[in-house]
């Protein structure tokens, strides 16, 4: 009898893991993916939608088209997991039983947690990115401020990338001289990794982008058009873009599977839940204090797949564990980019920004649909 493997979430991590388990288990596991929309969204593309370099439609594919034929897809929302009974209750009222469960539900954005931020812009949802581009199209001058209103947030390089792409956009429209761009950084430098900051900060200065350090956005005054930090400083704006606070999905919180923000506690190497048997979590879903990014979900997915496949086949856990590998691109504008690579045992390295890495990022974005979800890229 085949094991029942249930995967909650059809994002990058859940999709790769489902495909790999279906392939590697050789009929010993039946895999079901539960996804609320049935549409797979390539979230790294939101940044480009916000500056008009990408069309929303090109970032979305049907989840069914990305899954192996033997994987079942259920388009429904998981409302409760019972780890004792090993069941998942769906919103439709249907119940799925599991032998192994993967939580790949990701994170949700919570702009409503920031006082006064009802009308601020963001590029962390498709709707937010589209609305921001509409606002930029009619922007004629003034101060554009980018701030971070919560930690952790997806894709730590994104705020820096956004101000560089914004600089390019305003130059292309011929209104760069009428605009000030301010980047409010949570840290005392542009980016969390010092070596990467050393590459990026001179470029920010060269492009006339003003950097303010140790500014963790706490509240917004939409009437005075000011934003105030946890550290007690206030900055004025004409157009405000915030990275919203993030938290885990409601089903995690409602099922008691996560911490006070809904992040699932897992072993940082095996990705197994620290409290419940037969449950693994990957990507944004976990409480591992590593970057919330598609890259992490991608590398973790193959580890979780090997773990789940071994469990489904009644074998010992695999020797291969997650080693903390992360590989990200960082756009620096003017058609150039750098990369950031590290793992638990090796500190980060970033090459000098070049056109090569920009084209590599675009190539990755375009070929994603044919390589990543299927588990074809290691």
């Amino acid at each position: 009898v085949a094991s029942e493997v249930v995967v909650l979430g059809g994002g990058v991590g859940g999709t790769i893991c489902a495909n790999l388990v279906a392939k590697q288990s050789q009929g010993r596991a039946h895999v079901t993916v539960v996804d609320a929309t049935g549409t797979h969204v390539y979230q790294p593309g939101f940044l480009y939608v916000a500056v008009g370099q990408e069309k929303p439609a090109s970032l979305q594919h049907s989840e069914a088209s990305l899954l192996r034929s033997e994987v079942s897809l259920v388009v429904d929302r998981a409302s409760r997991v019972d780890p004792g009974a090993q069941t998942v209750l769906l919103e439709s009222g249907r119940t799925l039983r599991y032998d192994q469960l993967l939580l790949a539900t990701g994170s949700r954005t919570m702009m409503e947690e920031v006082p006064g931020a009802d009308d601020v812009h963001d590029f962390y949802t498709m709707a937010g990115a589209m609305r921001l581009f509409e606002a930029l199209k009619t922007f004629e001058g003034g101060t554009i401020v980018l701030g971070v209103a919560g930690i952790p947030y997806k894709c730590p390089p994104a705020p820096v990338e956004f101000v560089f792409l914004l600089d390019d956009y305003l130059k292309a429209r011929g209104i760069r001289e009428k605009a000030q761009i301010k980047l409010l950084s949570p840290l005392n430098r542009a980016f969390t990794i010092e070596a990467t900051s050393k590459l990026v900060q001179p470029i920010l200065a060269e492009r006339g982008i003003e950097l303010t350090g140790f500014f963790n956005v706490e509240s917004v005054d939409p009437v005075a058009k000011t934003v105030t930090s946890l550290e007690g400083e206030t900055v004025g704006y004409d157009l405000l873009v915030l990275v919203p606070p993030h938290r885990g999905q409601k089903v995690i919180e409602d099922s008691g599977l996560g911490d006070e923000r809904g992040w699932v506690p897992v072993d940082k190497n095996t990705l197994k839940h620290t409290m419940f048997q037969h449950i693994w979590a990957i990507g944004d879903t976990t409480n591992i204090p590593i970057s919330k990014s598609g890259s992490v979900a991608h590398y973790e997915a193959s580890v979780a797949a090997a773990e789940i496949t071994a469990a489904a086949r009644g074998e010992a856990p695999p020797a291969h564990v997650y080693d903390g590998k992360v590989m990200c691109f960082l756009e620096t504008g003017h058609g150039q980019a750098t990369t950031i690579r590290f793992d638990y045992d090796h500190p980060p390295v970033s090459p000098s920004p070049s056109r090569l890495w920009h084209w590599a990022k675009l190539l990755f974005n375009k070929t994603y649909w044919h390589t990543v979800p299927q588990g074809r890229l290691p």
Binding site: P156, L187, N188, T192, N216, L230, E260, R261, P289, P348
Partner: protein, 79 residues
Amino acid sequence: MSTMQIDKSIDARGMACPGPLMNLIGAIRQGQVGQTFEVLSSDAGSKTDIPAWVAKAKQEMVEVVQDDGYARFIVRKAR
């Protein structure tokens, strides 16, 4: 080592991004005044970065302990 109560501990060793200070700021943002947070960091920069932010944000640095290959920072949310 002291036996004080730690409300939240973050093991950020080997995690360059978002990094120990970002994780500490995140925890303090979510925490209550009076709670104590511990972050473990193997990043050399933390020794200057973390005290600098704690001072700037008017939080309280309780203790910095150097261990084998990493440092342990204990910070109390003061406001």
